[in-house]
Amino acid sequence: VAENRREEQKLWLIVFQIKAVRTRLNLLAIQFWIFLTAAVLLGAAALIFLSAVALNPMLFLGVAILILILAAATTIQVARAALRRTASPRRAAAIADDRAALKGRLATVLALAETPPPSPLWLYLVEDTYSMRQRFEPSAVEPRWVSRSIFAPLAACLVAASLLAVVRYEKRGPNNVVYAPPTELTADLGNLDIRPADPSVGANARVFADPSTLRQLAAKLAQAEKTEANRSSVSRWVSKARQLASSLQDQVTGQKALKNQPLTLNLRGDKSQPPDNGASPPAGDQSGNDSGGGPIMPPAGAPTAGGGAPSQPPPAIPSNESNQLAQEGMPASSGDNSTGEPQDQSGPKVGSGYVGQAGSSHSAGSDPGHLFGPASPQVLGSESFRLTVDARPIDEASSGGAPAYLPPKVRVTLNSQQFPDEPLARTAVSSDDQATIKRVFER
């Protein structure tokens, strides 16, 4: 009886030790699951953030969805792999057998421990296995307490932190200039691409034009509405998706959409169209899309085909925007007259260009007091200028200075009195030279 009791104790110790091995293996399996899941989620978040910063909204939406799907699938795979790593007592015994080179002793003892066979070799097996108990201690079978998979989330953290640092550096970089849309614009009606706005978008523009132009505008609006009615639901969904993507992108990058400022649009009639096409023109001005219109965008790169005299004098371009345009090498002319006809401008005129309140232009004479300023951040050299006409950008709606944002362009041809020039980049000038230059310039 005493011998049997001793054998039972040995058997109990063997089984206990197998369970300890199992506990350690399962601990590592849980760590494996936690660490790899964290790594996958971190990696997915970093990739989404990167795509939000680097891609345009629609591409971002697609890539983000793809990343999320992949992350979900990987997470499931990781969970399954972790589940496979978990050890039942039998598996723990088999692993311990394998790692301690016990040739199936533990697995056999464990399998037969519940109902020990009447074989005379059973006691021999228990004794034999017990004598090797040091070889299958948990620390001998699995020396690690922490899973090696911990390096995965660490690596993911490192990558994410690097990415964040790069993006922040890029944001602070000198080339990342945020251009606010102008609050006033003069454009030819013929160059405008008119589409109905989303009903949720409020009116935000005041349109000034002569009656003929307004009639043409009304006709265009009617045409746009008709076209919009013929648009498929797919394109509407695409539009909504674009808005969603833009909003998400802003949320991910932490950028705030630029507040839409009221736009004053001075329209000039399209000479190629008859002045009266039967539509009754609204009087005076229109407020944004109240009359069925919507965000009005000039087509990118479309040349201006002449201009008409606005019914209202165009207000001056604010100085800060004028400065921005000047820095980009664009003439700060809000009342550009490509046909060469003189326009009624309320702002002060210097040379052939129109100058805003304290604005400066490289292409024309100006107040010598504004000749000098901070050095231009980039090389100048364009005869065109870019204006964000849309009060609420739709297509490239990534406001807040996302690199992917490309504002539409309006090209204006020079009139007979204007000459193409090469704008000069501002540079630092010593005080002695400044006085000389100023003197020559004034002369």
Partner: protein, 351 residues
């Protein structure tokens, strides 16, 4: 100095250490007559202690008959040899009833036992006999008894049949029927010896000195001792996982089961089996795997079977149980290759 034959007799219940010691001693004695062929000798002895029979295949001159003779001498058991020929009849093996005159002048039938009545039987070149004669061995091998003239005569244990096959000179031979092949626990291949072994063979067999094989067991005690060791083999413990492993291995040799092995998560396809095997191993193959593994476990000082024991015994236990088709012959694929693939595939499932 004590008599080694008495010393190696097993008093009472043999232990694991006893088994290993006797086994090694037998190996040593046989190696006095046979140079090399360590694995073949181990498989031969394994089959003996597992209670099975052995088919020995080898080209002429590789020591098949010498091996069997040495085994008989080492075991100190009765040993008979039958040279199978085309004209050998079943009665020539099993024995026959003859009319004998009694002391009172009455004549009566009396059973005269054939050479099959012994402990160790060597059937030399068994494939030269007709299937009818070959089948005469079936009952003796499977049931360890011989029926002649309506009377059943038991064979004294231990009963161990070793048959040799000559793989060349196939003209005029009769391939063993599958049923009879299946009754051999192991098939042992004796190949040509290597150069070193050849030198040792020359030295050992052409000189004046011969080292005779000493019997390991005392006369009269051998049968009892071997039976006790055979019982010890049967006592070796097997975990369900190992039993399942052996069953999987045998099923993997069957073309109808080899397509999808393993579980749903890690299915394994054995194309080589489905393409080249017409019939796989029978359940006797699994028995052979387990019994051979039990002997190996005892030799290793264990009371339990490991997966490795099964793997090691697979070629001897399964090769002769696999029937190849015509495609295998045309593609020059043989049974050892098939078994090797099967073992590899089943090992994957073990992980």
């Amino acid at each position: 100095m004590s008599d080694p034959r008495v010393e190696n007799g097993v008093e009472g219940i043999p232990t694991v250490a006893d088994f290993a010691r006797i086994f090694r001693r037998l190996q040593g004695e046989i190696h006095k007559a046979i140079v090399g062929h360590e694995q073949a000798i181990e498989e031969l002895l394994s089959a003996l202690f597992a209670g099975g029979h052995v088919l020995i295949e080898g080209v002429p001159g590789t020591g098949k008959t010498t091996l069997v003779k040495a085994l008989g001498q080492a075991l100190n058991l009765s040993f008979n040899r039958i040279q199978f020929t085309v004209d050998l009849m079943p009665a020539d093996i099993t024995g026959t009833r003859v009319i004998l005159s009694g002391a009172d002048g009455r004549r009566e039938f009396s059973f005269q036992p054939g050479p099959i009545f012994c402990h160790i039987l060597l059937g030399d070149e068994i494939n030269r006999a007709t299937p009818k004669t070959q089948s005469a061995l079936l009952e003796a091998m499977a049931e360890r008894q011989v029926t002649a003239g309506g009377v059943t005569h038991p064979l004294a244990p231990p009963y161990f049949v070793m048959a040799t096959l000559n793989p060349i000179e196939m003209e005029g031979t009769y391939p063993l029927p599958e049923a009879q092949l299946d009754r051999f626990l192991f098939k042992v291949r004796l190949g040509y010896p290597g150069e070193d072994e050849m030198v040792r063979i020359i030295g050992a067999t052409t000189g004046a000195d011969e080292s005779p094989v000493e019997p390991v067991f005392a006369a009269g005690a051998a049968a009892g001792a071997i039976e006790q060791l055979k019982r010890l083999v049967r006592e070796v413990l097997v975990s369900p996982a190992v039993e399942q492993y052996a069953a999987r291995m045998v099923r993997a040799t069957q073309p109808q089961n080899s397509r999808v092995l393993g579980d749903l998560h890690s299915p394994i396809k054995l194309d080589v089996v489905s393409r080249y095997v017409s019939f796989g191993s029978s359940p006797r193959g699994a028995q052979a795997l387990i019994l051979g593994a039990k002997v190996r476990a005892l030799l290793d000082g264990r009371a339990n079977i490991a997966f490795e024991d099964i793997d090691r015994g697979a070629p001897a236990a399964l090769e002769h149980r696999i029937m190849l088709n015509y495609a295998a012959h045309t593609d020059n694929v043989d049974a050892p290759q098939i078994v090797e693939e099967v073992v590899k595939a089943v090992q994957q499932m073990r992980r």
